[in-house]
Point group: C2
Chain length 813, copies 2
């Protein structure tokens, strides 16, 4: 059974949606630099500059009824028949509807009664300009007189205030209209030196800036807006209440004729220019320049071509041709595209995250970098330094920071005792990708010591030292508020409904320990040892190995439960994730991280732990987080027990951590398992069960309902999830086995035996490696490596000069 | 020109709305105790328990499109014709629509094709139960088979989380259905010991608890909900996403027949009962008891009768018969009703305040008490003690506190240097009303000294001392973050768009001074002197009078500008509200408070200041806050200059402070002016210009757009405003002149000369005074007072025993 709502167009790198009434709104993102937009398949969503909380340009209502209402709308009035090419808000039946979500753009085409309207939405690379390129074509046999109306609602920049403080916001709205440009200048008179421009590249025949005037009254919805229904703008000028932007364009099209224009939405940084040219009259210089630029012939199309070219360039760093269609299309296009989104947005703004609650997460963004360092290394570099700057001198970190200010969020605070270790993973991944060890000497300082200039390496050492020092009764690392599993709160003891589980408890003198952090520490300290090896700092490397050995001994002594690794010890030193527990006997995270950290490698426990995952946690829709699901609230375990069984951390399929198990299977050489597990959470592979899965089939979801839930297999929270970066790692480095090293590119695939051949094109440190793999029927093992025809010992391709193209052949066997 | 949308029904104490498409949603409140509901004329709104932020039971989307969408809906399917008696969401044209907003209830009647549905919404006095009593009548000549559906959407209690954190909230929704009862039990498994019950007193024929199932999909709006359209519930059980409550009731009605049932929405406090009777099966004992109680014959009608009786009793404490229709109906019914709302809700939840940003305000609630002490004195007593407990030992106060926890809001903090003085006004008003000086000895303590037990009198002394001590270069009181005018921020110097103007500046070492606080201090210290006089503490009274005299001298020396009192001195000691300023030359607040505090009484300045108000600030729609309006942002003045000219504090008509001028005219004996000014902001008097005014004509608004605004006369923010309490004071004590004193009831009317007679019925300390006034053509002056036929010297009625009825006659002349 195929997906009745759409399909992949692999060649165009687009997902094509052919019915607007998808099971859930299917989202795409516009923008890759400083301005971003959310855009669903019916053009729902909003646009912001840098920070979805503090600089929101257009307004959106989450969880509305209909769920996705508000966005970048066009209304067509064709002889009294009124419709939207994007179906909503009117939902007039269309003769044809198509939405193409591409890389950084969405193109929606609607057709009715012989009129076709194609709208291409994108944000211009490197500029704060969103384009709605609109082409209206008369495909009928007779002349058409058409009234076209644009519509979007301005947001007053600070999103939370915008939606909670109407006793102020209803009184502050201000606009100006000049020519075809609408200037949204609320609060510009006071502390803002920016405004929002919404303009049309063509002369207009009317406008509206009052929402009530456009709709007809406070009682009219967008689906019954009176201006498009009547085919006549009112030229309203908003004063307070809710300013919107709407242009009227009257088109008279002969049969076969077509007209193209663009609507331009821009965040205009006014800088230090004089604010006004007369009392209450905005100095519009910058806005006019923008409109003039994009009104010139070819500029819009050129900008779009640039966007396409940019993406083609970025993706050419990694392309693979492997036998599995799902793995192939995800890896080559959508997974890398999603990695860009998580890099840019962390967990801030999606259909599930409102841009208000969360900024950039310390652990999130470090992990996101693992899937991003090969895309745009120089941006990764800056991000690493930004993140490190939110670490405190004792080793703990601000758990989140606002992208606009780059300052840690005091409300959420710190004391998540895994946070700092992830910085080691991202830094090492960046250096392996680039060879840029200079980053280690960059002065960063600590958030609690303004003006301090300790370098990045100091941060990494502080992180290692912190975990070694902050350990509990078993010698395992303390967990603090929580580790990666935000919901396992072993020190919170929360009894008060409205408090945060994460920040409720005082972690001072806390004793609860995390096996997962221990495994992560093994991984991180081994990474540090390798880094020092490469830099020739032997004693430092040895020091790291000592600490590794010490922690490994603790893990093997204190964390093994008999058939798997325990998850943690609670504040009373009772095991969590043990056969001793009634519920929550086995957790996924500690199996993943102990195995990836090298525990159980010599004593068979790694294999046994993984088999226990298979026996107790694996399902056809992925690996559930733990079993059995908790049926009641446990004060001593926190939020994990607050969810209904089968969702989120309470035995839901949390896709992010699935990838650690995929990597574990690769480590163990189990190529069949690795692919099978991967496909169990692969969205492309869910098209055949889309009515159950519901979410976007082109990007990974954070969570799929587990077997304990009545909706087993239903996905939630697509897009902004660590699954993106980690899946790129697990498939590109685990299954396909292309592993950047400090001194070369290691090849160590772990694939199904039936994969007879596959190939990878990888740009690495400026050289391009065209790798082809032949497999004589094994899962793992490289028996021969040839580089430009010459056999090389081992399985690491030596570095070639930047600019060169290198042919690489390997034989597995 | 009368109001085409509705009219007062004075006898029924109802406002009757006859067209649903009012210029703005016109709101009413349900509930007077612990459970409250907002209910518009199309049944929009939501319900909460105690705290609109922390215990919200039903969900509402502010500023939606249409603006007011979501509420307590009923859908009727009558042979395929689908409609709502409350018009929305479907907005099917009705044959008849009527909404009657009464005291604590709203009754909406819709009729179509011979079917009449009358819904009476109210909250049961003293219980956490909201009733939707529904009567369906077949007025047609033929039998009707009708499907009736209820609909409301559950909120997950914590309103901000509910609207911002979908990555959690979409996964936690849980319900149970048993019989005709829907139990919304989200988070009940963990830290909540309460749930929401939504039940029908009649057997039902189906139900829905999934919003998507009720609507049809995520793409369907409430106006196209499929369940009512198809006439068939789906018996959906929500798991995650958005739980709603909907019952289906199938009715078969012969011509003339009618059936009545109630939908019951309840906040059920589960207490310490066992939570579950089986795994995942709620212990429904309390919910069942509630439903059983209200299903019994007569109980709902009895509860409604009780509500009506309660209000009749409360209002009988003050009733007046005066020649002006507007003043009469506002004073006797709507103003007192609005005082109850402001007492209960402070500024937390209205159509403009979302229940999220603000809790109970220190200065707000103290002022609200001035209009409430005569309504339910024992509740006023507790409120005074609660408020006082949020004062700090240095005299400053938490500016706001959460009603659920009664703890000060640390986010907003304190240092608004007028806050503490209002506590003196509310306490004295309470003691004058009740004679209960025992309240002064109640141990309250200070918020920063847990366990402290200083009494209320100590707080009042601390307040006086604080203002005397914290004074600036001119000897005037320092202003801190702001005084009553939250937007006059003389120490903030805010340049950062997303920061609060109020809390931006550090007020330590600040020098800016407030003349308004000086005037308020005069008033408060004189009140303290009077209180001490009455208690026989002569030296304390004298001490207060010394401080009064000291401050008065400062005011007269430093605050007089030549024709009016200045408003303030800024941080650089430059005058604000002076002829020396280019804009903001004259402000309203300092004229009001200096005059009320007794400044200018002996030297003609009081009269001159009031005449300057008349000349520069008075308009037919009320007195604007200052003139000329600020045209640019002034860093040194703050938020006041951030508003467009003519709205809010930037020369809007801020009705609250208008009342101080009304009282000032009364003090000066200008009865014509007092009434004319009062009518300029009186909502009942706005019915003739309702298309301009737009807001509810039955309650005062916070703000009316001033003459500088293009929408001069448009009102905003009806309901939750200090205007309610202060207008009750200005009309009942100022114009009608009925002034509670410690030892009796003073009569000192100030009326238009043309008022030949009027009467007041006043319950005071348990006795009822039937007062009739004869006026021989003056504005002010009592020449004769007779009590039960006996002439009494002066104009104070001596106290009579509780339970007695006393006939009082006065002659003005």
């Amino acid at each position: 059974m195929s997906n009745q709502y759409g399909h992949f167009d692999d060649e165009s790198r687009e997902y094509v949606i052919t019915r607007p009434d998808t099971p859930l709104p299917w989202l795409n993102y516009l923008g890759s630099d400083e301005m971003f937009g959310l855009c669903t398949n019916t053009a729902g969503g909003y646009t912001f500059w840098k920070d979805a909380k503090l600089r929101r340009l257009t307004r959106y209502r989450y969880n509305n009824v209909p769920m996705d209402l508000g966005g970048r709308y066009l209304y067509v009035n064709d002889g009294g028949v009124v419709w939207n090419p994007m179906w909503k808000p009117l939902k007039t039946a269309l003769d044809r509807y198509e939405c193409r979500h591409g890389l950084g753009y969405t193109k929606i085409t609607g057709e009715k009664n012989g009129v076709e309207v194609e709208v291409l939405y994108f944000i211009v690379p490197g500029e704060n300009v969103e384009i709605w390129r609109t082409r209206v074509t008369n495909k009928s046999g007779s002349k058409k007189d058409i009234q076209l109306f644009s519509y979007q609602e301005f947001c007053f920049f600070e999103a939370l205030n915008d939606m909670t403080n109407y006793q102020r916001t209803y009184s502050i709205g201000e606009v100006e209209i000049e020519g075809s440009a609408i200037y949204h200048k609320t609060e510009f008179r006071e502390r803002r030196s920016h405004y929002t421009l919404f303009a049309c590249t063509r002369a207009i025949d009317g406008f509206d800036t009052s929402r009530d005037a456009f709709c007809g009254s406070v009682h009219h919805g967008l689906h019954e807006a009176q201006v498009p229904a009547k085919g006549k703008a009112t030229n309203s000028k908003a004063f307070g209440w809710n300013p919107i932007g709407s242009h009227q364009v009257s088109l008279s099209l002969e049969p076969g004729a077509s007209e193209t224009m663009s609507f331009v939405l821009s965040y205009v940084d006014h800088g230090d220019l004089p604010k006004f040219k007369a009392p209450f009259v905005l100095n519009k210089q910058k806005g006019k320049e923008i409109l003039a630029k994009y009104s010139a012939p070819g500029v819009v199309d050129g900008a779009f071509a640039q966007l396409k070219a940019d993406w083609a360039g970025i993706l050419s760093n990694f392309q693979a041709d492997c036998p599995d269609e799902h793995a192939r299309r995800m890896l080559n296009t959508w997974n890398q595209y999603q990695c860009m989104a998580t890099f840019n947005l962390s967990r801030s703004a999606s259909m599930y995250e409102t841009g208000i609650g969360r900024g950039m997460g310390f652990r999130d963004s470090n992990q996101d970098l693992l899937g991003f360092v090969h895309l745009v290394p120089e941006r990764a570099r800056q991000r690493i330094l930004d993140i490190a700057a939110t670490q405190l001198s004792d080793g703990t970190c601000y758990h989140q920071y606002q992208p606009l200010t780059k300052k840690g969020n005091a409300d959420i605070g710190g004391d998540f005792y895994d946070d700092h270790l992830w910085l080691i993973l991202s830094t090492c991944a960046y250096i392996k990708e680039t060879g840029d060890k200079g980053i280690l000497k960059e002065p960063v300082g600590y958030a609690d010591k303004p003006g301090s200039k300790e370098d990045l390496l100091h941060h990494l050492e502080t992180s290692i030292a912190y975990t070694m020092k902050k350990r509990g009764p078993h010698g395992l690392p303390l967990i603090g508020h929580a580790d990666w599993n935000d919901c396992l709160n072993l020190n919170c003891f929360s009894t008060e409904p409205n408090e945060s589980f994460q920040t409720a408890g005082d972690v001072k003198d806390s004793k609860a320990e995390s096996v997962m952090i221990a495994g992560l520490f093994l991984y991180a300290s081994r990474e540090m040892a390798g880094l020092y090896d490469w830099m020739g700092q032997k004693s430092d490397a040895a020091r790291m190995r000592e600490q590794y050995a010490e922690m490994l001994a603790v893990v093997e002594k204190e964390a093994w439960d008999g058939e798997w690794y325990r998850r943690a010890y609670d504040a009373e030193s009772r095991p969590v994730g043990s056969k001793e527990n009634e519920e929550g006997k086995i957790f996924i995270e500690s199996q993943g991280w102990c195995v990836l950290g090298g525990a159980g490698a010599d004593n068979g426990r790694a294999k046994q732990a993984m088999e226990s995952v298979h026996k107790h946690l694996y399902t056809k829709n992925g690996i559930v987080l733990q079993q059995p699901a908790y049926s009641t609230y446990h004060l001593e375990l926190g939020e994990v027990t607050s969810y209904p069984p089968g969702v989120k951390e309470n035995a839901g399929i949390f896709c992010h951590n699935n990838t650690w198990i995929h990597l574990g299977w690769c480590l163990l050489g189990e190529g069949e398992r690795a692919l099978e597990y991967y496909l169990s959470i692969c969205p492309s592979a869910k098209e055949s069960q889309i009515e159950t899965y519901r979410a976007e089939p082109y990007v990974y979801a954070q969570m799929i309902a587990g077997k304990d839930a009545p909706v087993f297999g239903e996905a939630k929270n697509a897009w902004l999830t660590g699954t993106a970066a980690w899946t790129f790692v697990s498939v590109s480095q685990g299954i396909l086995g292309v592993q950047p090293q400090y001194d070369g590119l290691k090849l160590d695939p772990c694939v199904p035996k039936a994969w007879k051949s596959f190939s990878i094109s990888r740009r690495f440190r400026g050289a391009t490696y065209e790798i082809s793999v032949k497999n004589s029927g094994v899962c793992k093992g490289v028996k021969k490596l040839t580089v430009d025809g010459k056999t090389v010992a081992g399985n690491v391709i030596p570095l070639s000069p930047a600019g060169s193209t290198v042919r690489v052949e390997i034989e597995m066997g």
